[in-house]
């Protein structure tokens, strides 16, 4: 399954473009990392992918479906977008129901088994009967990722999925993403967490001023620290020091 963006522009208010003339193709089984300053339009781009927002001009196609004219309920069978703030998307009254909801909603035949696997994969067994709002913020974040993974859509997009997660939860998320990639799912990540995602990703896109300023594999990206700085990309202190001490 591929996702294609062809000269996509978007404005919230007329005359003030948030994204300008963006074109790229995401291939099956790859993980794409999108980086850029706060307010660069990264989260807006994700909302365009699942049709919540429609391009002001240009075209986005997901699994051959044009997002501008396809109902979001139809697009949801192919792509699942997880927002930055867990509270924006949690509404079931138990953890299990929350994980089940999306999967059942898009009519997955073996939803029960998928949900059980996901609960195990994310180590949420102890919490299945709890109300999502009784969870700690990091657990709630993990729950939203688990709910998306359980939908088993061909493409999944996540906005800052590792924000606020500690060591063990990060390991869980890395395991889940690796398992999705092994099954040829396409993953789109918006994140500032270069330390976590550079080793996992196939390509990195840098967005600044609403445009894609840089696109490369992670190796080339790492070698361009000085150029990337102008677009708000700053490598973590540990990365910079590692380079310094060899």
């Amino acid at each position: 399954m591929t996702i294609t963006l062809d000269k996509v522009s978007f404005s919230y208010s007329p005359g003030i473009p948030v994204l300008r003339d963006i074109s790229f193709t995401l291939r099956e089984g790859e993980l794409i990392l999108i980086v850029g300053r706060n307010g660069a339009g990264k989260s807006t781009l994700l909302k365009l992918l699942n049709g919540i927002l429609k391009p002001t001009s240009g075209e986005i196609s997901v699994a051959g479906l044009r997002t501008a004219v396809t109902p979001t309920s139809e697009l949801a069978k192919h792509i699942c977008v997880t927002f930055q703030n867990p509270s924006d998307q949690i509404f079931a009254s138990t953890v299990r129901e929350e994980i089940e909801f999306g999967s059942k909603n898009i009519g997955r035949a073996n939803a029960e088994a998928i949900v059980e696997n996901t609960v195990q994969l994310f180590g949420l067994s102890r919490l299945t009967n709890k109300h999502p709002y009784d969870l700690l913020p990091a657990q709630r974040k993990l729950l939203t990722i688990a709910s998306a993974v359980a939908m088993e859509t061909a493409a999944l997009a996540f906005d800052e999925p590792t924000a606020g997660l500690s060591k063990d939860e990060r390991l869980t998320v890395a395991r889940a993403f690796k398992s999705l990639l092994a099954k040829r799912h396409t993953i789109v990540i918006v994140s500032h967490d270069l330390q976590f995602f550079l080793p996992l990703c196939n390509r990195v896109f840098v967005i600044s001023g609403g445009e894609v300023k840089h696109e490369s594999g992670p190796g080339e990206f790492l070698g361009k620290a000085v150029v990337l700085r102008q677009w708000g990309v700053k490598f973590p202190l540990s990365y910079r020091l590692q380079k310094l001490v060899g």
Partner: protein, 275 residues
Amino acid sequence: MEGFMEIAVKDLSFHYTESSDAALSSLTFTIPSGSCCAILGPTGAGKTTLLYALSGALGAYSSGLGTGSVRIGGEEFNPFPKNVLFPRVGLALQEPHVQISGLRETVLEEIQFTLENIGLDEDLVESGAIDILKQMGILHLAERKPGSLSGGEMQRVALASLLVARPPIILLDEPVTSIDGPGCLTLARTIVSFKKKSTVLFTDTGLDLSLSVADWILVLTAGHQLFFGEKKLFLQNLQSFSEVLQTHTWESISNKLLLPGTNRQRRFARALGIQ
């Protein structure tokens, strides 16, 4: 004024309910006036609960059971303050959208709202708000609607709306989760500029901000105090924290910085307190 901003915690324990495990268990540490302490630990370690206890939010809004004592700026509380101590103690919450009042039309007005609430003279309100926006590198957001901000922008505005009050004690709950690289650097510089005038405590799930700006490190796990001490001591014992924190990257860095190296490496080592 000696000890005005000191935080002394003695044998502090807390249970959210009678039957629940201790969220905080016999914590004892003292953070000297005008220094900065990072609180590290896995999810559920008690990091946020501790900040809530010190801010007065836990005493005001939770009916849990606490023992021990907290001394803030020479005033003793048993076990911790019963009322929110703002503006003496300022707490920035982990979820910034909760912190934004939603009552004001623009970011500038949102920041001014804090100063109006603490009764600052009208003519100082606007200049105070503009100063903090400049310092945090977000003056360009001044005319934006708070509700239209991106996640990272909102986190920076929420922090500015607290810091503008210049509380003598500043508590920040995971202040950099959504902030971009340059924004983190600006926040690190802001925290450093607040030291001496304020005592700063913050929780962190990574180590970058902690090792850049903190003088003291507190490591919690399941409510227990695994470590409290100066950053140098923490760095010398990184290996003992690898079970609960992601310290492995830093272990190799700090080991190499301990060896004789270039001037630049020595400068970094000194800045991190390794040498």
